[in-house]
């Protein structure tokens, strides 16, 4: 097993809301306002209004990502992206991230494992490939870089 770079995605996020389901269970929700992606043989935009990230948020600011949204490639194919992942960081780093400050992404562990559903054709390799993503929070959005398992 080794990793090979697949694509980079930049997204702008809307306001975050929290749903306090139970004392030990909080669902977050943040919609994606805009985004674009680019990699070898693959580029396009995130479809506006197609989804967002719905994390399970821990009291310490860590948690689990669960995201779902649509991509549209520059040649018109729609691809569903669903992803789970982990964010883990010391409390002071979490505080800085939540305050929207610029934080060195090496100071937190933010990794995702997305799965894609793409139409049969030039993008159908996405339907059988495992990916690993690294997340980077910026004050106005996020940068995700994805590597494929080969």
């Amino acid at each position: 097993m080794r990793l090979e770079f697949a694509l980079e995605m930049r997204i702008e996020l809307g306001p975050r809301v929290h749903i306090p389901v139970a004392a030990d269970y909080t669902r977050g929700a943040v919609l994606i306002e805009a985004g674009s992606f680019c990699g070898p043989g693959l580029s396009g935009r995130v479809v506006r209004g197609s989804g967002g990230d719905f994390p399970l948020v821990q009291p310490d600011g860590g948690g689990r990502f669960e995201s779902q949204y649509l991509l549209r490639t520059d040649d018109g194919a729609h691809i569903l992206k669903r992803s789970t992942g982990v964010r883990q960081a010391p409390p002071d780093v979490v505080r800085a991230l939540l305050a929207g400050e610029q934080v060195d992404p090496a100071r937190y562990y933010m990794r995702m494992v997305p799965m894609f559903e793409a139409p049969a054709g030039p993008y159908d390799w996405l339907n059988r490939t495992i990916f690993v993503g690294v997340g980077q929070r910026e004050p106005t959005g996020s940068v995700f870089r994805y590597w494929k398992l080969v």
């Binding site: 990793l3 689990r64 982990v86 992404p105 933010m110 494992v113 339907n127 059988r128 690993v132 080969v150």
Partner: protein, 140 residues
Amino acid sequence: MMHAPVPGLACAFELTLLRDAPVVVGTTPTGGQRSHVPVIGGHFCGEGLTGSVVAGGETLLQRADGVVVVEANYYIRFADGAVARCFGRGYRTISGEFTGLRLSLLFEAAGDGSVAMLATRVYVAEQPEAGAVLTISRIT
């Protein structure tokens, strides 16, 4: 501009699984053949941990493109009694550059338990078609 780390794969665990006969639902109108493979035992080791697989299963959807979508759940009891749920999704492929099972995996464990750290990282795993062991790597 600060750049995020480039991820790597760190060898972490080896998981051997004892599987029972599949339960076959059949070909569903929403697509694919649905089945379930119960996991009835196995062994987990690595990074100083050893454990037994005490329950689990692989829920399968075989698509017409020849790819099997796998949803896995493995419950592991460690030597000190702590239990973790290892779960994830992936594919089993029977043709192409790689044949076998590849998964992305996460863990759940008690927050105050001895294996809580498992839940703080993301993993990927691979078992070649002819192999007997699922090799699990931590994403660094």
